[in-house]
Symmetry: C2
Subunit: 416 residues, 2 copies
């Protein structure tokens, strides 16, 4: 069998070179290759030009054992990845009957007419291993060249086709080449900063060689990534899970809100398991917390609704914030945040009420209440918890960090 020690990704498409699309395929494939322990030293993009594509393919094959291309498998005359690479590898293109009937079926189901050039998509290099396209028309495929000792995989460009095809068909195919598997789990942490996590776990992290344990911080969220190298996926997963349990047993354990989960899913899952419902009262976040919760499919048994109270008038009318409070302390104050949180609970009859009020900027700041001052409150069982945040960055960033903090607060409050 061909031995794969290093891979390259070559993305084909003029739209990449003029900046019309961001190359998410390279990051997607890279992450998967890393998980298989397959190294990558170069990546490249090239336009829909046969000469330059040929040069890029030859250069890549001189450096790596596995070349993965994306793009250029479409039905039009300027889609020529397959034709060009088949020529480099000296393979003719043959009709794959199975792919042809799948493409016919794709058009039939949509009531659309299949044109002649769609038939071109069913042509594959002789002897190639086909990856069915259950999400579009062009199949992907792998060509194994035993003589060169190289594997070339060609995949369609649209991420909505490439991504599920990769996970469904390419990953199982590639596993046979992987001598070791890399498995990661992310321990999600709330209520403890990155340096505090590091300080508490330093001896454990330094001693951990396989799996390794490393802290990451992004948009105010801290996670510990546990990464194991193993012979099989199952063994790697078991090694990771043992480490997760060891970390759960330390004094960081109480700050773990989930494994491999984002905040909005963790909130929905946790509240559902406790039989609790949630509502939000949002000023500076402007509906972002609600929208993130509604991103979670099936959230309706937990999430009841939200009042986005951008104006003071709405804070009074729909949340029952006292005009005196607004006058005395201002809209951006601990007192207003408290009344917004308790207001949403009483108005919606939900169990947990989250509230935000702050100055997201860039305008609207004063010396006493600068841009980035945000109050986040959570009402639950008659108690109200309030946090005062002093954030910096863009309007977008301040709003994102504020909704993160609110979601975390919901988790902390119901667990305490």
């Amino acid at each position: 069998m061909i031995k794969i020690s290093c891979a390259e990704i070559l993305c084909v498409g003029t739209e990449l070179l003029i900046g019309d699309i961001v190359n998410t395929n390279a990051a997607f494939i890279s992450k998967r290759l890393a998980s298989l322990g397959i190294n990558q030293y170069y990546q490249a993009c090239v336009g829909d030009n046969p000469e330059r594509l040929k040069a890029a393919v030859k250069a890549a094959l001189s450096r790596c054992d596995l070349l993965i291309t994306s793009g250029g498998l479409g039905p039009t005359y300027d889609d020529l990845t397959k034709e060009t690479i088949a020529e480099v590898l000296g393979r003719e293109l043959v009709l794959d009957e199975r792919s042809l009937s799948r493409i016919r079926e794709f058009f039939r189901r949509r009531g659309a007419t299949m044109t002649d050039n769609n038939q071109k998509q069913a042509m594959i290099p002789r002897g190639a291993i086909v990856f069915d396209n259950d999400w579009g028309t062009a199949p992907g495929f792998a060509v194994e060249d035993e003589e060169l000792g190289k594997v070339v995989i060609m995949l369609p460009g649209p991420p909505r086709e490439l991504e599920p095809m990769f996970d469904t068909y390419v990953m199982p195919y590639l596993r046979k080449f992987a001598s070791e598997i890399i498995v990661s789990r992310n321990i999600m942490i709330t209520g403890l900063g990155e340096s505090a996590v590091e300080a508490r776990l330093r001896p454990l992290m330094q001693a951990a060689l396989n799996p390794t344990v490393a802290p990451y911080c992004k948009e105010g969220e801290v996670r510990l990534r546990v990464t194991a190298k193993a012979k099989t996926y199952e063994e790697g997963l078991r090694m990771c899970d043992e480490m997760v349990e060891r970390i759960r047993a330390t004094d960081v354990g109480q700050y773990i809100y989930g494994i491999d989960i984002d905040l909005e899913h963790a909130v929905v899952d946790t509240l559902r398991s406790l039989g609790l419902t949630l509502g939000t009262a949002e000023s500076c976040t402007g509906g972002q917390i609600a929208s993130r919760i509604v991103d979670v499919a099936g959230c309706s048994d937990v999430f009841v609704g939200s009042v986005v109270a951008y104006s003071n008038d709405v804070k009074v009318k729909l949340l029952g914030v006292s005009p005196d409070t607004l006058k005395k302390y201002g809209a951006v104050s601990e007192e207003t945040a408290r009344e917004m949180a308790s207001g949403i609970v009483s108005r919606l009859g939900c169990d947990v009420g989250l509230a935000t009020t702050g100055i997201a900027g860039p305008g609207g700041g004063t010396p006493e209440k600068p841009v980035g001052l945000v109050y986040v409150a959570c009402a639950y069982r008659g108690n109200i918890t309030v946090d005062r945040l002093t954030l910096s960055g863009t309007r977008e960033h301040i709003r994102r960090l504020s909704s993160n903090r609110a979601l975390k607060m919901a988790l902390e409050v119901v667990k305490s």
Copy 2:
């Protein structure tokens, strides 16, 4: 002066090769180069490894006149783009006093301690043209090698530093090399599909060679991109604007909602100019319309607030939807959408009320009311407009298209 006919981008960083980050820098820089009429045939990524970086730089310089790198200018030992490229070009690194004092000032302002390795960031290849970093520490710079006839520009990796540095300093620098400038304007259209736009403008589009006019469609939004080639930016802009006026004078004109603007900014600008206020009542969009409006800085004179009525109970309590309507027609119905829209207007006292109710999926669909069925309503001056949408795609996509439709409806309704 060095003549630049083609460029390459080389992004440096192991994090790209393991898929930890998506390469947005390449798309950003590509778009700018395209606007300058500078062609690009290849792009590459390489890790923080001096030997492979050197090989990639040499390969790129053998093909192009302008090489732009991003990344590897940080303070740590594995940041070595500058050192490696200076070696390839045979230039020594010298201390740039101006950059050093700027870095000192950066730390002073933040009350942080500057470490010795930050001083490394002030070292630049002798004779390089410095691009100040007003957004971080590492300056960018251009090295002009008259002998080779090549220009190498090195920029810091973080997009929040690279992007403003490019627009502020690199674009003016590069304009001197551009023999022709490419200027684009985007005509934003609502209420007319891509094929209808094309049918009405086909003769004009086919005859238009400079500027060209091409339709684009993304997430249900249609735009016409007008692209002119000219000697100067001003001339290109004038050519574009003349074409924009010609298109405004056609029967597509009435569907144009703005030039180079997104929907949320167009809604805020339009409503502000008419002195109108806005509120939203959201079910399936779950606060997304509100959150998009709040993305617009200074929206508070237009946007008053929103009720995210995810449960029927909230639709009744906070929006005054009649329980009989919900019982008779269901939550996802034209009647409920109407009552939500009029409810938000009467409860918030705003001029324009937008409402959405639908089934975003993946669950919750029935044969009569399948996933993707969405009603969008807009109340204004006692009238209520309702659209029934039958969308397909993911939950995320259905929600996005629904909020697009709602924002467009607000524009259409207040303009009619």
